[in-house]
Amino acid sequence: MTDRATGPFLLLHPDDNTLVARANAPEGTEVETEVGPVRLTRPIPMAHKIARRPIAAGATVLKYGMSIGVATADIAAGAHVHVHNIRSAYTASVVLQDADGLGKGA
């Protein structure tokens, strides 16, 4: 397993079920996931995450090999992983309209 970036996404830890964008990735970009190549259905801004494999509702979301929260819906491989489909195991995240990283304020 290498952590060298091979596309627009980084795998930070072998155990992770998320990949992190190392640059802005346009909609339609082909991404290699554990279930084969998928096309992004929306642009993914730098430092945002997508699912490396399907993540079931209630499953732990892993980045750095550690839990960053719990999935609140089934997440398909290649889909954006963010405040709309995961929640903190600690305290709710306070977010504004620009949370998707695409708004003017982002």
Partner: protein, 406 residues
Amino acid sequence: MALAKGPDMIKGWLRADGRKGIRNTVIVAYLVECAHFVAAEIVAEFRGRDVQLIGFPGCFPNEYAARMMERLCAHPNVGAVLFVSLGCESFDKVRVSAAVEASGRPVRTLVIQKAGGTRGTIAAGRDWVESALSEIDTVPRIPMTAADLVIGTVCGGSDGTSGISGNPAAGRAFDLLVGSGAACIFEETGELIGCEEIMATRAITPELGQALRESVRKAERYYATLGYGSFAAGNAAGGLSTIEEKSLGAYVKSGDSPISGLIKPGDIPPRGGLYLMDVVPDGDVRFGFPNISDNAEIVEMIASGAHMTLFVTGRGSVVGSAISPVIKICANPDTYRALADDMDVNAGDIIEGQRSIDEVGREIRDLVLAVAGGQRTKSEELGHREFILTYKSFEPIGPACLPRIA
């Protein structure tokens, strides 16, 4: 480990307490702001030589500042110390001077009110520093390995790249250094909220794990009193989804080694391993923010014996430090290009797919050993010697914080 530039090639300055320094600096320390200018004028005479200015600005006494000053002046990178006092400040100059003398270092205190004011004190100070430089030239140098090193890490001027390139690479370097026997220190418990349970599982004893949890809870209370929100809306726009994800971005600087202890500023790690430094004051909120800027954190790790500090930045920083070199690791490739003269390591290569986290981690480890062997960091070359020490208040660490088992 590569033999050509391996740890056997490092020659450290041997101090009376057995610790080894990677630099041999003369410190000029003012004991109140009223003596700052005079102390700075003494140092100005020695531009290009290893004479450095530190100090404490306050006129009111503070036990934390007194202890920090003692630790800093007996740091293994320090060869001799000149204190510059106005004369009527509350800082206990006799106590600090006695501590330096007991450490086997040349020490002198000049009191401006008795030494002829500005001109007289500057002249006497310059004469003393000149003679101290000659005297410390004779300090014995002996072989030193990675196991003799204490290394700290901080992040400052963070952006979205810090948590995915610079901090993980610094963490890999920490794993390599801990594996070679070094003592490595990470800190900023206020940025570890949400990591306490994961961190506790890495502690070498359950009691230490509990102490780690409590230190993060203390930080949570302290920052809540100051009115801090722990997760800003802007974090979500930047791609962070939860408080634990934000904290993990800073936490990964610590690498994957077991956590051997919990220390407070000025506590020296008793052996190799990974240590968390609790920098949040104990008791009621009294003197304001725990650390008012990045250099305050760097100084606290130096007081705990850090020979150098790994500083991860995304937005960009130019600082170095008095006493111990700073290695700046730039997480953002655009920032690296803009500030290349100030940056030692381009972890932005990870963002651009040029190198892996492991490769950059190894570069950082190799650079740590090279700097220990005398190579100057970018900030040293440029003459940066930032320093800040202010008021704080701590209780001693508890018995569970430094377990004796390995």
